[in-house]
Each structure stands twice: as structure tokens, then as C-alpha cells.
Amino acid sequence: MFVVIIVLAVLLGVVLIAGLAFLGIYNGLIRSRVRTNEAWSGIDVQLKRRASLVPNLVETVKGYAAHERVVLENVTRARAALEQAGSPGQAAQADNALTQTLRSLFAVAENYPQLRANENFLALQQELSDIEEKIAFARQFYNKNVMDFNARIQVFPNVFIAHMFNFQPFEFFEAEEAAREDVQVSFSSTTAT
């Protein structure tokens, strides 16, 4: 009788600990996923801002350089592609394409002194370059979160829970070219006291 009680108590303890561990891991995964989604919306906001400025820009350029049709159409098409992009991977691709077309548009604009003197055009140009920079920073934050989440669902005990609840890895938001080189930071020498 006494032995049975001990065995039951031990079993109960094991189940309790396993349950708590399960809860901890599951909540950790959920939290990480929420953060990554939040980081994604940080990029998404900037992409939408960028897309919403394009028609205005196209109209302004048309006023001075209407016959640069090909360049203008490319920009409009790239914008439409960006608005339809679903996954982060597609969005990244469409955004990179838009960056390219905008770059050629601004290169063409160099040939129109009156356009370059237009205040509206200048303001748009500045705002677009600011958004481009914000996208770069938002991408950095998002990718860091993706890396963390994807690693979390692959390590040992988590991988079972991730399978059970169908946690899928996130796609990275990749830039066309590395505008800034990656930095290797070594903490080991700085933390030794």
C-alpha cells in the first residue's frame, strides 16, 4: 500500500514537471512567433508607405518628362507587384524590383533641370530615400527575429512541440545587395572583468 502511494506520487511529480516544461516551451514559441509577426508588420508599414508615394511621384514626373514612358511604366508595374506580394520572400523580391526601377527613374530625372527644381519632387525623393533606409533597418530587426524563431523550433525538445502544433519557419526578407557589410561582434574580450 505504502509503495503504491510512493509510486503514484513520483508519477504525478513526473507528469507535473513534464507539463510545466511543455507549457514553458509552448509559451516561449508563441511569444517568439508574435514578436516575429510584429517585426514583419514593421517592414509592411514601410512598404505600404513606399507604395502609396509612387503614384504621386509618377504624376509629378509625367508633368515634366511625359515621354519617358518605359521608365514610368516599369515603376508602376513594380509597385503593383509589391502590393500583390503575399509572402515575405515575394515582398522582398518585389521591393527590390521597385528599388531598381525607382533608381533608374531618379537617374532619368537628372536630365530634366525643371523637374529637379520642383519642390514636390524633391520632397518625394527625400521621403522615398528615408523609407528605403527605414526598410533596411526594419529588415534587420525582422531577420534577427526570424533567425531566433527558426532556431527555436529546430532545437531538441522544442522540435516535438513545434511539430505537434505545426509551427512553420518564417521566410527571411532578403536584400538584393548588402548595402552594409556584416559585422562580427565578439563579446568575449569585453565581458571579462
Partner: protein, 305 residues
């Protein structure tokens, strides 16, 4: 060789643990001081520890007011996006990269280049730069400095530092009180309970003087040790954020080489700044109590990244 967490969330957890430890240690120290003060004033034993309550209220009050006090005594004024578009935008962009809410942005009208961050958490944070910093630094250097300051915010260093500063101030206040009490004889009043036991009174006085001398020393030591570690860490996480450690390295060089002293800085606010605004002569003791690691070491580490 401690492995450093990569994501800011993990480092925040770590900082929270350290803050808890610090708090427990300090509260124990203050409780001890309260008891000693209580005994010196002649309170009966069970009531002596209650003295800690008014001190804790004082501490809480200073904790919530500290950011505004620091900004006010530095003579900083808040700026909008329209007034300082470049500064504001850089802060905005770096916040996106670090996943932080936008802090308030302040400028000190002073020619000496320097910067600091303050507040009790990222939701109540402020970054502050001097006019000299805006004038003397290139955009990429400014970005490096701001990334360093935002790292202090993101790592919750500002909270730890605020708590430490408040508690160090409190410890100094109590030590001061204790010294006055023992020297000017509040305990020697007639009607003191310890009338009979001369040895006990002497023992309490020795204890009180020892506590009065040691407490602020210990507190300062803790504060500076915490402060220096955090500077290295903020340099490193700032470099991760901008992906360009050279920017901060060059900014630090310029700041170190600048001859203007920051007029609005004093001993109370020195630990806040990116580089020590008070140019002291390097001696062993100064090095031990230095709020910042030597700037050459920081530049060397940044260049090695």
C-alpha cells in the same frame, strides 16, 4: 567567457535578473542602515527597522522623477521632427532596427560634443545630444553615437542605472545623517534608553561610524562597476545595430579630442554621458572610480570588430 544573448529580449531578461539582485542587495544595505540610525536615535529595537519606510518612499519618488531631473539639470530642451529632421530621422530609423518605441529627443545647447539616454524603461525613455555633437559629427558618426544610446535603452541599462543612482544617493544621504547624529549627539539625550550600558552605546556608535563611512564607498564601487561594463556592451550592440563600428569609433575619437568641457555636467550626471564629460587626471583611484572605461580601449575594441 560568458555567452552573450543575441536578441535584445534575452539581454533584457538578464538585466532584469541583475536588477533584482542589485535591488535585494541595496535594500538589505539600507535596512541595515535604518536599524543603525534607529538605534542611534534611541528607538526601541522592534521599531527601528520601520525607519526604512520613509527612505523607501523617498527612493520611489526619486525613481519616477529621475529622468526629468537629469534632463532639467542638464538644461536640455525637447526637439520635434521639424526642428531637427536629421537627428530625429536617425533616431527613428535606429529604433525600427532595434525594435524600440520612439523615445523623446532632447538637445543641450552646449558646444561640447556628448550624448546620453535616460528614463526608467523604453516607453519613458529620452535621448539627449549636445549641439556640439550635431555640429561636429558626420551623419554616420552621429548614427553610431545614437545607436550606442539606444542600446542603453533597449538593454534596460537606463533603468538599472536609474535605480542604482537613486539608491546610491539614498545611501549617501543616510550615511550623512548617521555621521551628524553620532557627532552631534542625538543619542546622548537624557532619557535615552541605553543610560546604563556604556559599552553597548560605544558599540553602536562605532558601528554607526563604520557604516556611515563604508556604505557610500561600497555603493559607489557598485555603481561604477555596473556603469563601465554597460558602456562596452552598448558599444557592441550599437555596432550590431548600425553594422558600422567605425562610425562610433571615429565619433569617440572626435569626442575625446574635443577641448571644450561640458559646462552643464557635474558629478551627479557624469555617468549618463557617452564619454565622461569631466576631464579628470588619471590616477589609480580615479581609474577605480571611473564611470567610463578608457576611451582608447573602447576605440580599439570597436576597430577590432
Amino acid at each position: 567567457m560568458v555567452e552573450q544573448p543575441v536578441l535584445i529580449y534575452d539581454r533584457v531578461d538578464q538585466n532584469r535578473r541583475n536588477t533584482m539582485l542589485l535591488l535585494v542587495g541595496f535594500v538589505a544595505l539600507l535596512a541595515g542602515m535604518s536599524i543603525v540610525i534607529g538605534l542611534v536615535v534611541g528607538l526601541p529595537y522592534p521599531y527601528a527597522p520601520l525607519l526604512i519606510i520613509p527612505f523607501l518612499i523617498f527612493a520611489l519618488f526619486s525613481y519616477y522623477a529621475s529622468a526629468n531631473v537629469a534632463l532639467a539639470i542638464s538644461g536640455a530642451h525637447e526637439v520635434t521632427k521639424e526642428q531637427e529632421p536629421e537627428l530625429y530621422r536617425t533616431v527613428e530609423n535606429l529604433c525600427i532596427g532595434a525594435g524600440l518605441p520612439m523615445p523623446k529627443v532632447y538637445v543641450i545647447e552646449d558646444g561640447s560634443p556628448n550624448a546620453f539616454a535616460t528614463g526608467r524603461d523604453p516607453q519613458h525613455a529620452a535621448v539627449c545630444v549636445t549641439r556640439g555633437l550635431l555640429q561636429k559629427l558626420e551623419p554616420l558618426e552621429l548614427e553610431g553615437v545614437l545607436a550606442h544610446e539606444l542600446s542603453h535603452i533597449g538593454n534596460y541599462d537606463i533603468r538599472v542605472m536609474t535605480i542604482v543612482v537613486v539608491l546610491v544617493g539614498l545611501a549617501a544621504l543616510m550615511a550623512d545623517l548617521l555621521l551628524r547624529l553620532t557627532f552631534f549627539g542625538a543619542g546622548r539625550r537624557p532619557g535615552n534608553r541605553d543610560k546604563g550600558g556604556g559599552a553597548a552605546v560605544i558599540f553602536i556608535y562605532v558601528l554607526a561610524i563604520a557604516a556611515a563611512i563604508l556604505t557610500p564607498l561600497i555603493a559607489q564601487g557598485i555603481r561604477f562597476a555596473v556603469s563601465r561594463q554597460r558602456e562596452y556592451l552598448a558599444d557592441a550592440s550599437g555596432a550590431l545595430l548600425t553594422r558600422y563600428p567605425e562610425g562610433l569609433a571615429r565619433a569617440l575619437e572626435k569626442i575625446a579630442a574635443d577641448p571644450d568641457p561640458l559646462e552643464v555636467a557635474n558629478k551627479a550626471t557624469a555617468h549618463l554621458y557617452i564619454n565622461n564629460p569631466l576631464r579628470e587626471h588619471g590616477s589609480f583611484l580615479n581609474n577605480f572610480f571611473a564611470t567610463h572605461p578608457p576611451i582608447q580601449d573602447r576605440i580599439k575594441l570597436l576597430r577590432a570588430m
